[in-house]
Subunit: 350 residues, 2 copies
């Protein structure tokens, strides 16, 4: 009987953060693609777009005028998925099949730059530091609101990720409950912490640094790696080397180090297919429910959909929706490919 080879043979990998598996089919990465191609916008964008509701000085949907902002700029989402209003609620009789709960929250938009055409990889490190300070301030302020227990900072980049405006921006959805994925993560971090008196992601990072097979970037304070259990072709995670439960614990050295790894990682992404690389990214950190949450470890996920080129993405569809996530290229191979990318942006070389 042939011996199992993780680089060649179909297998499943276990994700201890959410207690789920992913199916890996390394041999399949060479199948021909005859499906949908994504549109690539090669339009050069202007620094200022008079029709953009995020540009400085322009009018938004609710009639408000954006200030002439120079750094990151935050406002409440005009089409918020959550509302601040407190509502009276009675539990229903049939809570087995028809269980619902009102949800309070605050949604904000964070413009990363006044420049309409400047994405993270092309920003100066200082401008990214300013975004980090903005995230810290929002985490602190929103965390003080009595009914806010979780703050989800995220970015949808690129039209293929449902982003409706190329102006560089992210969002923050703050709410009463722990969202499903966060609750799963917390449960697994907590179980590990209770059992091992240690932090799951810190212990994992130590092993990854020893193996050095999936590390994409390492600096003094942060590591960007392709998780062993990654589901998206070029999925990565940034973890702080020090045990930090939340973004507000960053030291004065950690802020620029995080800005730098964000810039380098997104440059590598852009360089991979010489395109403005689409992704959804998001920060997972301690809830703001007033507990200490030592089981938590600050980390940031990048879920990019592209698979083979600027126009061919991975579809998480039928089998993936009914069964489980599936990938072709191995995380080790992806990490190697990303590691080899330059940290000089391809556009700056033209």
């Amino acid at each position: 009987m042939k011996n199992f080879d993780i680089n060649e043979d179909p297998h499943r990998r276990y994700n201890p953060l959410i207690n789920e598996w992913v199916l890996v089919s390394p041999h399949r990465s060479k199948r021909p693609w005859q499906g949908q191609n994504e549109a690539v916008s090669s339009d050069e964008l202007a620094v200022y777009d008079p029709s953009c509701y995020l540009c400085p000085g322009n009018v938004r949907a609710n009639g408000e005028v954006n200030p002439d902002y120079e750094n990151a700029f935050v406002f409440e989402n005009d089409f918020a998925a959550l509302k601040q209003e407190e509502l009276a609620f009675e539990e229903s009789q049939n809570d087995t099949f028809f269980k619902s709960r009102p949800e309070r929250g605050i949604s904000k938009v964070v413009c990363f730059s006044p420049k309409h055409n400047l994405t993270l990889p092309e920003m100066p490190v200082e401008a990214i530091e300013n975004i980090i300070h903005t995230w810290q301030k929002e985490y602190t302020d929103l965390g003080k609101v009595d009914y806010i227990n979780h703050i989800q900072i995220f970015e949808n980049k690129g039209s293929v990720m449902g982003c409706s405006n190329p102006h560089p921006h992210g969002q923050i959805w703050a709410q009463s409950s722990l969202p499903t994925e966060v609750e799963k993560t917390q449960n697994n971090l907590k179980a590990y912490f209770d059992k091992n008196k240690g932090n799951l992601l810190q212990d994992y990072l130590a092993e990854e640094l020893k193996l050095n097979e999936r590390i994409v970037i390492e600096n003094d304070h942060f590591v960007a790696l392709v998780p062993f259990w990654a589901i998206w072709p070029y999925e990565t995670m940034i973890i702080s080397k020090r045990h930090l439960t939340k973004i507000t614990e960053f030291t004065n050295e950690e802020v620029p180090a995080f800005a730098s790894i964000l810039k380098q990682l997104t440059i590598k992404y852009d360089n991979l297919f010489e395109t403005s690389f689409p992704y959804s990214s998001g920060i997972h950190q301690a809830p703001t429910d007033g507990e200490e949450h030592l089981e938590w470890q600050f980390h940031m996920h990048f879920y990019p959909p592209l698979l083979r080129s600027a126009t061919v993405k991975k579809f998480m569809v039928g089998y993936e929706m009914m069964g489980e996530s599936q990938r072709d290229i191995t995380p080790e191979k992806s990490a190697q490919v990303l590691k080899e990318q330059s940290i000089v942006h391809y556009k700056s070389k033209i």
Copy 2:
């Protein structure tokens, strides 16, 4: 304080099948859309396409020639994500962070019709019955293979769902392990069964039939409804009225009744935006591990991405990936909209 109104106010709903929540924001369904539009292929397809590897008589990637099939036709996937080979495997030392297992399986393609341009909603009921018989045969035959414990029958329809060929077809991925979503479902069905000595989905269906708020189609043997906890805008589920654990238990009356509800549901979908409606669908039923699995209930999921029109889909991105699934239109409203659609295909009226 205002009373919570489930039709108007932000809330979360609980999915007892997988123990996860969905965020519902009914007030948000009116926000303007400025994002990506999907391409609609309005090309009239030919009955036979000489370049299609699924059409009768044509040559496939591996050099094999398709027979001149007249009904459903099944073959092994030339680019299978799973392989049949048994591999020798030793558990690793560090199974906490680097847990992997070889996975054996068989992937098949099921052509629904020899006609290149005929999708489910446009097929005669008898042709759909033939597909059902094919699924039954595959479930039986694959289930007999000693290392196959789970059989996932599914369809990806439309290029927006990663389908690379418009020729009507589905797939079957059969494997040793229970995929993540199936294992979650089984755990919840089992816990309910052990506690209540009843079947979760049968008990749920009884309540839904009483309430009659989310029923889209009902016939003598099956019901198509929008689950209370649906995440996709027009997600539906077909459940048999009788407690059936698997598709091979269908009676002679249930086969045509299932064919008929499949046809009517997909016609309603096509009529909704007058387009060939994309979706991923899949059947969840008892594993083939030799156990009785009375906790299981045969059901079929439809996960369609379209939200507002033939070109605007719902993006499950940043918040959804990091936090939890989110929807705007309520399941009750979606059910009503689908119920109102004609069961005569819009094309047959031209």
